[in-house]
């Protein structure tokens, strides 16, 4: 465990903090974090613009600009508007969702080595999604199914860990067990498919943005528009939870209701992201660490920063996976190649006994 100190807002004067008043409400805004978020968004757009030019059909930037206005050549319009742009936007939004759900679960469990993909939340979502696909249910409800799966996985982990109280170490081990159980069931479902479907399912299980379309983008955008503000709003409560149950309760926090809200938002973020891109590994684990390294303890602003960093990371990883190798790989392979060594490094660095 990292010391709790570093997870909670620092006390005392911080030169970057400004108080902003809007009508009757006042907000404390960290200008440094805002600056970082702005820089992140700029990077995201530059990377996106560059990403639009890449591909087997090379397009210069001005052709891209024309195509975006809809006045380019027919080929360029099709390639940019129907193929590259939706995938790009999907990557830009899937990344933030995984990153934010990771930040929520790391805070809830108070262990920085935990993420929804290790303890089985993402696996729950993908099991539900695979089940949904195999049984040929309406595709439009896929995100809802994945969300339900994530929620059920979280609920079973919570119930199975509960013995009077929730112990962090027990939760991780129970989570690993639940993860194994769910992934075995998923494997079984996939094995029942004919080989051409199985290949697609295996691809999806590593996490890929291949074939993302405008419907996916719409789903992601609407989910993100609801969930990101909710998450930012809940970060203050998450900060208070870091003090421990007793302190949080004596500060007047409705403990179980707050936890439930955080779990639901975290599961919704991970469920919707999984329903579009599959369980892309390690983004949820890695990005909150990067955001904390850049900007300090997790607050609403840092949470937003984690989202932006997640977008940059996933978009970058997706571009690498598409263009850096002779064959295009699923993006999950690239994020795992980045994330697993980083995880092992963190584990290596963990000095406190766990």
């Amino acid at each position: 465990m990292i010391p709790v100190k570093s997870l909670i807002p620092r006390q005392g004067k911080n030169p970057n903090l400004r108080l902003i008043q809007v009508g009757g409400m006042a907000f404390r805004v960290n200008t440094r974090v805002m600056l970082l978020v702005g820089m992140g968004i700029t990077t995201l757009f530059l990377l996106g613009a560059w990403g639009l030019t890449l591909g087997s059909f090379r397009l210069p930037l001005d052709a891209i600009a024309k195509a975006l206005k809809g006045v380019g050549s027919r080929d360029a319009d099709f390639i940019v508007l129907d193929l590259r742009l939706p995938r790009l936007l999907a990557a830009m939004m899937v990344g933030p969702m995984f990153a934010m759900s990771g930040a929520i679960f790391q805070g809830l469990i108070r262990n920085p080595l935990v993420s929804p993909d290790i303890i089985g939340i993402n696996t729950g979502a993908s099991l539900a999604a695979v089940f949904w696909i195999v049984t040929r249910q309406p595709v439009s409800l896929l995100p809802v199914a994945a969300f339900t799966g994530a929620l059920m996985a979280a609920a079973s982990i919570y119930v199975l860990t509960w013995r009077g109280r929730i112990s962090g170490a027990r939760l991780i081990l129970v989570g690993i067990g639940v993860n194994a159980l769910l992934s075995a069931t998923t494997t079984w479902l996939i094995l029942r498919l004919p080989i051409d479907h199985a290949s697609a399912a295996v691809l999806w299980m590593v996490g890929t943005l291949y074939g993302s379309d405008w419907v996916d983008v719409l789903v992601l955008a609407s989910a993100l528009a609801v969930l990101a503000p909710l998450g930012i709003g809940l970060m203050w409560s998450l900060g208070v939870l870091q003090f421990g149950d007793l302190t949080a309760r004596s500060l007047g926090m409705p403990l179980e209701r707050t936890r439930l809200a955080l779990i639901v938002v975290g599961c919704a973020l991970s469920g919707v992201a999984v329903s579009v891109a599959g369980p892309v590994g390690f983004v949820a684990f890695m990005v909150p660490h990067l955001a904390r390294m850049l900007a300090g303890p997790m607050t609403g602003g840092v949470f937003a920063l984690a989202g932006v960093v997640g977008g940059v990371l996933l978009l970058g990883a997706d571009l690498v996976s598409q263009h850096a190798f002779p064959l295009s790989l699923p993006v999950g392979v690239v994020t795992a190649a980045l994330g697993a060594p980083y995880f092992l490094f963190l584990l290596y660095q963990t000095h406190a006994r766990m």
């Binding site: 194994a180 159980l181 079984w188 299980m205 795992a336 584990l347």
Partner: protein, 347 residues
């Protein structure tokens, strides 16, 4: 861990030994029954007489006998070997690392072997198991060393939780690379996807016989080291003061574990949780003495694995459930129960 729960009011040694010996015979009887069931039960049911004749008076005219001889017998034999190897490997790892969660699949050994095999098949176009079994050993060795080193550095040493996390992550990493390899080649995927789920079905006895020497060496060697495992499981200091060269003994145990895990993965694909569950069950049955635990593991491992295999055949008739999936479905709850029941993280 087992050593802390040594029986306070154990009966006189000779009677206790006799009781355990009778227990061993009972388990052997149960195993014989399961073997017979494994020959008989499946998408077509076969009579005792046909099963017996197929083994001892085989005539290729009889359809039933051919089924037994060519399909059921190989998977039963493989189940016997692999089940024993996985259970003994799990017990040895739990003793040598003093970690109740140690197990070939949980600590990444299986996925290391699987990754190495698939890589070798993909890059080297190796087809014969005798060629790729060495890669299975290499992968198993590499992954287990990696997991152990990463899990044990830092001030806390190798705690069960750190080892488990390191194992999960190394497995995830290898798994995603392996998937990338498979996606590059659909043919490999079609061949390997059933193997990767862990299955006893459709395996050639020739494959098994090529890894059999390694299995026998690993299991046999380990069973003879029961006393040494007892001493190792007392902890580093106690073992040293009893005059054991712990470094050499640990290396020996590691070598045998790699032999057993690598050979089982080569024969049947990665099968999880047998190595975790069986030693715990056996210790609950016969106490913490590894001179008894290991022989019991040799019998209970196949009992469980063949039982799971039969359950998989019955559960989804006329098709079947791969045994690796059944063991995960049975074994994962076992892990959860273990995490709930004991103060595992405090060990």
């Amino acid at each position: 861990m087992a050593i802390t729960q040594s029986v306070p009011h154990s009966p006189p040694t000779t009677r206790w030994a006799a009781a355990r010996f009778v227990g061993l015979l009972l388990v052997a009887g149960a195993l014989a029954t399961v073997v017979l069931m494994s020959l008989r039960i499946g998408s077509i049911d076969i009579t005792n007489a046909d099963a017996y004749n197929a083994l001892f008076h085989y005539s290729s005219d009889s359809y039933e006998q051919t089924v037994v001889r060519t399909l059921r017998l190989p998977r039963t034999v493989i189940g016997l070997g692999v089940g024993a190897a996985l259970a003994v490997a799990g017990a040895a790892m739990q003793a040598a690392t003093r970690n109740p969660l140690a197990e070939p699949s949980l600590l990444g050994v299986n996925s290391g072997a699987a990754f190495a095999v698939v890589t070798a098949v993909y890059l080297g176009h190796l087809t014969h198991p005798l060629q790729y079994v060495w890669f299975a050993f290499g992968g198993a060795l590499g992954a287990s060393v990696l997991v152990y080193v990463i899990g044990s550095v830092g001030s806390g040493g190798a705690t069960p939780l750190k080892l488990a996390l390191a194992g999960v992550i190394v497995s995830a990493q290898l798994g995603s690379w392996l998937t990338a390899l498979l996606l590059l080649n659909k043919q490999t995927l079609d061949v390997v996807r059933f193997w990767l789920a862990g299955s006893l079905a459709g395996r050639d006895l020739a494959v098994f016989s090529s890894v059999l020497p390694f299995l026998v060496l690993g299991v046999g060697g380990m069973v003879m080291l029961g006393n040494q495992l007892n001493i190792l499981s007392l902890g580093e200091d106690a073992a040293l003061s009893l005059g054991m060269r712990t470094g050499r003994m640990r290396a020996m145990v590691a070598l045998l574990v790699v032999l057993m895990a690598g050979a089982s993965v080569a024969a049947a694909g990665p099968i999880s949780f047998v190595g975790l569950a069986v030693p715990h069950l056996v210790r609950a049955l016969v106490g913490p003495d590894y001179r008894w635990v290991l022989p019991f593991c040799v019998l209970v491992g196949p009992l469980l694995l063949l039982g799971a295999d039969i359950a998989g055949r019955v559960a989804a008739r006329p098709s079947e459930l791969q045994v690796g999936i059944v063991t995960a479905l049975v074994g994962a709850p076992f892990l959860i129960a273990l995490a709930r029941h004991r103060q595992v993280a405090d060990l």
